[in-house]
């Protein structure tokens, strides 16, 4: 329950910022993708059915504020959770550097995957012009990720949740 509350608050905060701030600053790529960072933290550090459901719920909440195909972000965020879960459970790697690297590629793959599923692979081939800004956003997200992981870890400690990977 504490895990659900913590991630619900962080997800709503992230979505509020991601919907309101682009209205203030004209250059969207400067804003990190906080939702992907949350999904990576869930996949790396919470090996439970609740965490998988949370990742799906965060993605589905994102669908309420982004895109035109409900379920698309839910799919991509659950996929990121699954990849992170596999990396941490099979390779036993959960370092911050790996987390930031996964965030970098996660942001790019989420974007391209969402375009491919919603508009087909032809649209992906036309998306070359958005790659520089996408790479910039991925880079900024990767830089911000360790700070978000650290804030999440402190919050988890404060409410008595495990910080390292924990199985049900």
């Amino acid at each position: 329950m504490r895990l659900i509350l913590l991630f619900a608050i962080f997800a709503m905060l992230g979505l509020a910022l991601e919907t309101a701030i682009p209205h203030l600053i004209s250059f969207r790529p400067l804003l990190p993708n906080l939702i992907v960072i949350l999904a990576v933290d869930l996949g790396f550090r919470h090996h439970s059915i609740t965490a998988a459901l949370l990742a799906f719920a965060i993605g589905y909440a994102t669908d309420a504020f982004a895109g035109s195909h409900p379920g698309l972000n839910a799919f991509m965020i659950t996929l990121i959770f699954l990849v992170c879960f596999e990396i941490s459970s099979r390779l036993m790697v959960t370092s911050t550097f790996v987390g930031a690297t996964v965030v970098f590629f996660g942001v790019i793959l989420t974007a391209l995957g969402a375009i491919a599923i919603s508009s087909g692979f032809e649209a992906v081939s036309q998306s070359g012009s958005i790659m520089p800004s996408l790479a910039l956003q991925a880079g900024i997200s990767a830089i911000v990720a360790p700070f978000v992981f650290s804030i999440l870890a402190r919050c988890k400690r404060a409410i008595g949740l495990p910080v390292a990977p924990a199985r049900e």
Partner: protein, 282 residues
């Protein structure tokens, strides 16, 4: 039991089922009134006050920034009157903001009257959360009579259509989104085509016959045949026409008539104007 395959792979299997469920949602679509649409409406409703508050903060911040820049000029002219002028400048910035808002609303009302539309005005309170799609969040919802599929306009032209709704908020899919399309035609040559958005920015006019005479600067307007946008509204102007290369159709680039980034107020058409045929029959 705990050592069984299902138990050992429970997280993997749960995530796999959720992936299948989300793909199912993408492929079948979520329609208003569906069980799957309720959480979406709930999320939109929860975040609406926060977005509205942040939008108000941004208005205030803009006023302060404008006031600050004007204050610098005043300081250069007369240091003694700095504090007094700061107050005046802040007031002026605020008044200018109110005047601009008033102007926008007046133009929207004028547009509504000219087109004979039944429409409601709404403020833009947020943008797309991921930035990949081109959508906006509006301050009006089903309690204001809005429904998914309604056309959204501004005094500059066509903005988009409503795709999701909650009692007090709604989301608009902009016409420059790569999943958006509307029926339009060139006002000068009368050549018809489908106006579609692109992954990055801008619009294209698809399926225009190569024999058609389109020129840069031509106005592209809505045809009204899609049943969403009233006929004759400005979509944009022709930016480029490419006749080279294979294919049956022209490649036409369009500059949108609306500056989507600076939109603050919009008009939502709640009832389509009667068609000419209906008027004749009437």
């Amino acid at each position: 039991m705990r050592g069984g395959f299902l138990w050992r792979n429970r997280v993997l299997l749960t995530a796999g089922m959720l992936l299948v469920l989300s793909l199912h949602l993408v492929s079948t679509g979520v329609h208003p009134g569906d069980l799957a649409a309720r959480p979406q409406s709930m999320f939109l409703e929860i975040l609406r006050p926060i977005d509205a508050a942040l939008a108000r903060v941004s208005e205030g911040a803009r006023s302060i920034v404008n006031g600050y820049f004007e204050l610098i000029h005043v300081r250069e002219d007369n240091v003694r009157l700095r504090s007094e002028l700061a107050q005046v400048t802040n007031d002026r910035a605020r008044l200018a903001e109110l005047e601009a808002e008033n102007q926008h609303l007046s133009e929207l009302l004028e547009l509504r009257d000219v087109l004979g539309l039944h429409a409601v005005a709404a403020n833009v309170i947020g943008s797309d959360a991921t930035g990949l799609s081109h959508t906006l969040i509006l301050s009006a919802g089903s309690s204001n009579g809005l429904k998914p599929g309604m056309a959204v306009l501004s005094n500059q032209g066509v903005v988009g259509k409503i795709i999701a709704i909650s009692p007090h908020a709604s989301r608009v899919l902009l016409i420059d989104d790569h999943n958006s399309a509307l029926d339009g035609f060139d006002q000068r040559s009368r050549a018809r085509g489908i106006v579609a958005g692109m992954v990055d920015e801008g619009l294209i006019l698809k399926y225009v016959d190569r024999s058609q005479d389109l020129k840069s600067g031509d106005a592209i307007v809505t045809s009204g045949l899609d049943g969403i946008f009233p006929r004759g509204l400005l979509v944009g102007t022709v930016k480029s026409v490419h006749r080279e290369g294979p294919g049956l159709f022209l490649s036409v680039g369009i500059t949108p008539g609306v500056d989507f980034r600076s939109l603050e107020q919009v008009l939502i058409v709640t009832q389509q104007p009667p068609h000419l045929d209906d008027k004749v029959k009437g």
